[in-house]
Amino acid sequence: MLTVDPQDKAKLINPLFVATPRFWIAASALSAIVAWGLFMYARQLILGLGETGMNRPTYWGVYMVNFIFFIGISHAGTLISAILRVTGAEWRRPITRVAEAITAFALVVGSLQIIIDMGRPDRLIFVILYGRIQSPILWDVISVTTYFLGSITYLYLPLIPDAAILRDNCPPNAPVWQRLLYTVLAIGWRGTREQWMRLEKAIAFMAVFIIPVAVSVHTIISWILATTVQPGWHSSIFGPYFVVGAIFSGIGALFIAMTAVRKVLGLENYIAERQYRNLGLLFVTMNAIWAYFTYAEQLSIAAGQQLEEFPILASKLWGEFAPTFWVMVVLMIVAFWILLVPKLLPASLESVPFFRRRYALASGGAAAITLFLINTPQPSLLNVLITSLTGVAVTDAAAQTLGWILLIVFIIGIGLGVSPWLKARPVTASVIASACVVVGMWLERWNIILPTMTHPRLIFESIYQPTFTELSLTAASLALFALMFLVFFKLFPAVSIWEVAEGRVIEEAKSKITIPAPAPSEEAKQLRRWGIKKG
């Protein structure tokens, strides 16, 4: 019989046995979207891939973007929790379960994208029957499968003691099937010393094992693109670049998921600001590394200016992919700002008027007006305004220049204005930043796959527009992901009960060695000066 802290019982265990109406509404809404997706998929299956917007030469579209995106998200979990375990970061304890769950579910949804994308999903088995190891697709099948099995194990291992705890602490009115589920999953865990030691050993091994697997998964996904000779894809940086992007978007997803769990289940005491702060630092670092890789990738194309490569970069910088590219860049900058600037802001600066919300609103208004003025037909209103205000006639080009500079100044003004507000709300700030990053990373995958697809060497350039089928299936995939998450945390505690309890024990042991500070002795005061005679 395993006992549990009463607060843990109240917060983590009891909600598992009460189904609120909120849960049923959310679950049925998500199920409806998934059902709609199933219908659309059945339609695509019967009518063929012609239902999508894909064409010649755009053979890969939204499904492939989703695939890379979801597999990227899956790095949240395992990689982060494994790295944090290996390096012994104590603050990881309340968030490992959420992280590992993201991995497992994102992998399921991600692999599903490939099947959706296949013209003949019924021949999936051929990959095994006639698999050729020379093809990167085969590497992918191997590594994703390994990763999936590994992360399921990695999710399950820390779940065993929790299942046993649940088995032993079921409220009397718990349904039989739920009791049975926990009993089966606990596989006879009794919590003996030997069992604990073996479990810890197994988890430690899995953590080390899963890191190279996770790195290999996203590297190999990138190689599906990079081992071709297509301009824009055939780049040796893709492996590390994709891995960095995957971890980056994974942290974003983790932030969103853990905040959702925290809000919905009221776990503010478990998932505290410490987790947000430390994970936020990791997030900023990944943001910087991601920016470094993106810059390195684009610059080498820009400097080369090769005939086939350069049009792809041009299409991103000022061509038809400019909107998605610049939105991505802006989102990443916004995320960077939100994560970093409020942290650096000294408390004393909050009295300065620049750092008020009112000022942010004013700057926002000014920015909007400036943007409008710049875009009025020539000679722009801005020019007229400057001339009438200052009495100096300026050229249109100069007015435009001034307008753009003003716009940037105003945007920085918005950023400064909202910074104290964000500083006071680290959780909200993290979620906003994560949303920016997750959307930005989806766009990043889009900006990698599609410009190359639509600018082939010897096929006339094409335009790709996702159809309703593709959008439906994307929405359904997201819904499926959320639904799995919802159901899982309806059945299992969102915070690993035993790991948190273990953390408390370690913390207590540490706090015992604290010695109260004695007043510095006269001798110490003298020595403090390094024996240097002053004066």
Binding site: A303, Q306, L307, E308
Partner: protein
């Protein structure tokens, strides 16, 4: 210059069908531009300077070119391509090499610091480094071309190069300058056909053509539209202004 001075876009067309690989262009270039002569042991090390080079294709000696006696050897004669988008200019840290308004990639011997970034960056290998102080044997030293472009920190054209700097084909830019000066002194407008580089002038098979690519009726413009026309290493994005006409 008040005589309707306008910029040309100088270009060369080389008809490989007419080229007999006599290397006359290389010799003419050598004498026109005072290219230093290196000793045989240096030449074998790869230090010979040939602004205009004639060499077999493909260059990789290991690649099969057919079995004797059915050997297929082709030759390529190669001046500087004077690219529209020259990789050498981009990497020069001091603007010792630059593309002028007429599209000629010039080299200033007085400013070059000898870092050899441009030689490494050029995909065509048209840039040469002076490994030693240049020397000419015997009577060669007394027959140097006195032409040079000079002044205001510039030293270009056939001027004697000091050691440790990079030099390259200039489309005989000193001839252009001389032709312009002559037209100027005769108080008339300069015509594009007044100027051709030495290699074009000497070409045995009349394989080389030279002129203004911006003029739609010039010989080079017409030849550039030939279905046989191609440019070397087009895919690296340099947009060369030396256009070849394919063999056969």
């Amino acid at each position: 210059m008040g005589f309707g001075f306008f910029y040309m876009r100088w270009s060369m067309v080389i008809d490989l069908d007419k080229c007999v690989a006599c290397q006359g262009c290389s010799v003419a270039c050598r004498f026109e531009n005072n290219t230093p002569v290196v000793k045989p042991d240096e030449a074998i090390k790869g230090r010979a300077i040939r602004w205009n080079d004639v060499f077999p294709l493909p260059i990789n000696p290991k690649e099969e070119t057919g079995e004797y006696p059915n050997v297929k050897t082709r030759y390529l004669t190669r001046p500087c391509m004077h690219c529209e988008n020259p990789p050498c200019v981009k990497v020069c840290p001091v603007q010792a090499t630059f593309k002028n308004e007429e599209g000629i990639v010039q080299q200033n011997y007085a400013r070059c610091i000898g870092c050899r970034f441009c030689t490494v960056a050029c995909p065509y290998g048209v840039r040469y480094f002076n490994w030693h102080e240049p020397e000419w044997e015997g009577s060669l030293a007394t027959h140097l071309n006195p032409d040079r472009l000079e002044g205001d920190g510039d030293l270009e054209g056939p001027a004697i190069r000091p050691k440790g700097i990079v030099e390259k084909c200039t489309f005989c830019i000193h001839r252009l300058q001389k032709a312009r000066a002559r037209a100027d002194s005769e108080k008339r407008a300069f015509r594009p056909d007044e100027y051709i580089p030495a290699c074009v002038q000497t070409c045995t098979g009349k394989a080389r053509f030279f002129g203004d690519l911006d003029d739609p009726n010039s010989t080079v413009s017409l030849l550039a539209k030939s279905p046989r026309a191609f440019r070397v290493l087009e895919d690296v994005g340099t947009h060369p202004k030396v256009i070849y006409l394919k063999e056969g």
